[in-house]
């Protein structure tokens, strides 16, 4: 293949052509500040509000419940810190899970240093949170439950509806980090009793640097970024108009024909999984076998390490990622893979292939073919594999 095979759509996606086209006029022509009185400003304001409506519609919310942020991490931080600080008179306990994105985990750890108490729920071998443990963890001090919608590494979809029900019954706010779910799975915040929901446009073919937090009307939350009166006084800063416009278009496109797109993705996903499992030994699939993101494949190849796998794939023109956050300054294996019970040495050999709208069957077959070679080559170099062959 001479073109790049991009199978890291969970990390980020390219901006779709139609999306970029809708954004373009807002950089240099319709560039007005939406807060301005004059026509150039009102134009921007209208564009922002139209986008807000599209996003609200996509998740069954009201437009005034959508607040734009700079992305998923800001939305996560806002939800967690905003609820914690605004409701600290009510209680100081937060419940989350061990497999959350660092945007949630590190924020919770930060709050622990400020005196809050946090329960990190366990997950089962498929990465599903333990609902009994959730119920048992709730106490009089509990002010927030934050459980992600779908996991970014292993793709497992959480029992969000049940969690929403539990939260509602107990009168506790429920936030879900839906950064991996929005644009990929149908969501209805009312049906699911979700009080807050984080999203990021660049995960569904929208631009980087823009996201949103859905905040149910009536939820008591402090701002994370104070200042000007934008976003109805809840999130200050001159609006990123092109980004907002792009996000609106992207979410609209994402939910168009979503069933068909997902059918195709699931077909490709299963073909990829089967191809890997049938052709390579000492490999295991991570995450839930069926209840997972349509495009997510996560496997562990024993006896080899993730980064060398990625570099080898890159040499073949294949872009993928590994659970081990090699480049982010830590050498620890993925906290998600450890939470589902994998030993460290196996967790190090993980590979995430996340499929998107532009992937083809041909690409899937090519990736399987290359993986067979690469895994064989790296194992031939591995002192661990040698021991297995020798039966040690």
């Amino acid at each position: 293949m001479d073109k790049l095979i991009y199978m890291d759509n969970s990390a980020t996606t390219p901006v779709k052509k139609e999306v970029l086209e809708t954004m373009l006029p807002y950089f240099s022509e319709k560039f007005g500040n939406p807060s301005s009185v004059y026509s150039l400003g009102s134009q921007s304001k209208v564009a922002v509000e139209e986008s807000r409506e599209k996003i609200a519609k996509a998740i069954g919310a009201k437009p005034k419940e959508i607040f734009f942020t700079a992305g998923g991490s800001e939305a996560d931080n806002w939800a967690i810190k905003g609820i914690a600080y605004a409701n600290k008179e009510k209680g100081n306990h937060i419940i989350t899970s061990k497999i959350e994105h660092h945007g949630i985990l590190h924020t919770c750890e930060y709050l622990e240093k400020q005196g809050f108490k946090v329960t990190y729920l366990d997950v089962d071998e498929y990465g599903v949170v333990d609902l009994e443990q959730l119920k048992d963890s709730i106490n009089d001090e509990t002010i927030l439950i934050s459980i992600m919608y779908a996991n970014n590494e292993i793709g497992t979809i959480q029992p969000v509806e049940e969690i929403g029900q539990i939260a509602k019954e107990k009168g506790i706010y429920f936030h879900t980090d839906a950064v991996q779910a929005v644009g990929h799975i149908k969501i209805d915040v009312n049906k699911l009793n979700i009080d807050m929901l984080s999203m990021a446009a660049h995960k569904f073919y929208g631009p980087k640097g823009i996201g949103a937090l859905y905040i149910r009307q009536g939820v008591k939350i402090d701002p994370l970024i104070s200042g000007g009166g934008q976003e109805r006084n809840r999130r200050a800063g001159t609006e990123n108009v092109p980004g907002i416009v792009g996000m609106g278009k992207a979410i609209e496109l994402a939910y168009k024909d979503i069933e068909e797109k997902n059918q195709k993705l699931i077909y490709l996903r299963e073909r990829l999984i089967k191809g890997i499992l049938d052709n390579i030994d000492h490999v295991r699939l991570n995450g839930h076998p069926t209840n997972r993101l349509p495009g997510n494949v996560n496997v562990c190849f024993e006896f080899i390490e993730g980064e060398s796998l990625l570099l080898s794939l890159d040499m073949e023109g294949i872009a993928a990622s590994s659970g081990s956050a090699c480049t982010s300054g830590t050498l620890d294996p993925s906290h998600v893979l450890l939470a589902i019970g994998l030993p460290h040495e196996i967790a190090h050999g993980s590979l995430r292939l996340s499929l998107g709208d532009f992937n083809t069957e041909e690409e899937v077959d090519y990736v399987v073919e290359k993986l067979v070679d690469i895994v064989a080559r790296l194992r031939a170099m591995s002192p661990l594999y040698e021991k297995v062959k020798e039966g040690k």
Binding site: E305, T327, G329, E345
Partner: protein, 140 residues
């Protein structure tokens, strides 16, 4: 992220494999930390006449192993003892800060193999008196 040199050694690692009748074998690292290096030395008259490695680890671990074997091949034990992690990293045109431990591991793997050789042959190698191959290079 990596220099061209690192990538070149990752793409075409030198001296991969095992030596059946090695005179010294050293293994360092820990699968938990995601990297293990195993070095095989063939030593004749105090000279490293052959060297092979096997590595489980990231790109820079493989490249560091490869470079380290190149640097000690044909050298005397004394010369090989002078191959430091810094020298390995420099020979690779540098490593990212968080990958420096890979070069440390490579240095240790050589030393561990030399120590094994020394023990088997009941000799002392200057500089290995306090060497502990189980020390964790991540702490460096």
């Amino acid at each position: 992220m990596y220099s061209e040199k690192v990538m070149e050694h990752f793409r075409n690692p030198r001296n991969v494999g095992e030596i059946e009748d090695a005179d010294g074998i050293g293994e360092v690292g820990n699968p938990k930390c995601g990297d293990i290096m195993k070095m095989y030395l063939k030593i004749e008259d105090g000279v490293i006449v052959d060297v092979k490695f096997k590595t489980f680890g990231c790109g820079s671990a493989i490249a560091s192993s490869s470079m380290a074997t190149e640097m000690v091949k044909g050298k005397t034990i004394e010369e090989a003892m002078k191959v430091t992690n810094k020298a390995v990293a420099e020979a690779l045109d540098g490593l990212p800060p968080i990958k420096m431990h890979c070069s440390v591991l490579a240095e240790q793997a050589i030393k561990a193999a030399l120590l094994d050789y020394a023990k088997k042959n009941n000799i002392e190698i200057e500089g290995l008196e306090d060497f502990d191959p189980t020390e964790d290079p991540h702490e460096h």
